[in-house]
């Protein structure tokens, strides 16, 4: 039993960790009431996927993929592709976070809150106000 777990952890344990991270991110997005926390959870989730990809690029005897001399053997260096891909993913998540933050800023300026239930209450209030205004006209 212990050996099984040990082998599992040694060979594939890291996947488990990334998936736990992912699950935490998803759960956070659903559970959290605060929009800022949701944004953080979103980032956690993205980081989990980035880990996942980097795990795929691991190679046991390999080193960083910068060629030391002209004769190159494939087994010497780790897989450069996931790193390249994840650079893109990081930039994308950065961009998304930036947009998310600025949206949050707008929300807070308009509604004065970034708590979800509070916000929904305020939206309802606004709708009712608009309707009343319409009737009065």
């Amino acid at each position: 039993m212990m050996t099984m777990i040990n082998t599992f952890l040694a060979t594939k344990g890291i996947y488990f960790l990334t998936l736990v991270l992912l699950a935490l991110g998803v759960a956070g997005i659903i559970v959290c009431n605060n929009y800022m926390k949701k944004l953080i959870c979103m980032n956690v989730m993205q980081v989990a996927v980035i880990f996942f990809f980097l795990c795929l690029g691991q190679k046991s005897p390999g080193t960083i993929p910068v060629a030391m001399d002209t004769a190159v053997k494939a087994s010497q260096y780790i897989n450069p592709l996931p790193h390249g891909l994840m650079l893109t993913a990081i930039v994308v998540s950065l961009g998304t976070t930036g947009v998310g933050l600025s949206l949050l800023l707008r929300i807070r300026e308009k509604y004065g809150t970034i708590e979800e239930d509070d916000l929904i209450r305020r939206e309802d209030l606004m709708t009712r106000k608009n309707k009343d205004g319409g009737d009065r006209k």
Partner: protein, 256 residues
Amino acid sequence: MRKTITVILLIISVLVPFMAFDVLPVIGDPQSAPNTHVSDYYIENAIEECNSPNMVTAVIVDYRAFDTMFETTVMFLAGLSVVIILANKPKRRIPAHSSLRRMKDAGGRPIYKTVNKDVMISVIEPVILIYAIYVLFHGEVSLGGGFQAGALIGMTYLLDIMVVKRDRPIFDIPKARAAAIAGFGPLIYALTGIVTILGGGLYLEYNKIPLPIHHAELHSIGITAVEIGVTIGVAGTIITILNALMERISFDDDND
């Protein structure tokens, strides 16, 4: 309701991947599919084909250069979006919570008096800038590249606006202008591709750049050109976002 969904989702998201553990490769296995199929080609041919010992750079800006072009565009897009989103201010504002009402809309950028202005401007900033340029041009051979260089330049700007008063900026770029400049970064990238098309090749086929030199050199030139584009794009975007946010945020420690 929410809790139930969460529990279900958590169970699914942990359990479903469990069946995937069987199929996922063992960590560090040199014979696994991702480590053999395409990656071997990249590792073995990067120097010869792209004249770039840094294989990650070769992948990013040569083999998969098209991705990176749109990645830079995503940066630009994010900057532009922040500008657009923050361009409108609500006219009538719902009164904030009592907890929030304490924060006043001070306006203006915060000034950190703890940082020595003279040291910052005369010593640290030039060093960072030179380092950025080094990182930019050296990305091809060792670690580094356009993103890092752009980020460094952006940081210089951040330092600058932290130490200089608002009315006397050293280099002050309005956010719309900055966004326009950020647009030129990906444009340089895209135009590099257009040049290769004009040279008779396919898009971003660097060895068709119409210059009379060896094709390995052409790859270097192409890579450098797109890295410059990336740098401008990233630096411009960071400046844009900083400017846009600074106009709106009043830090809590403003009045301290």
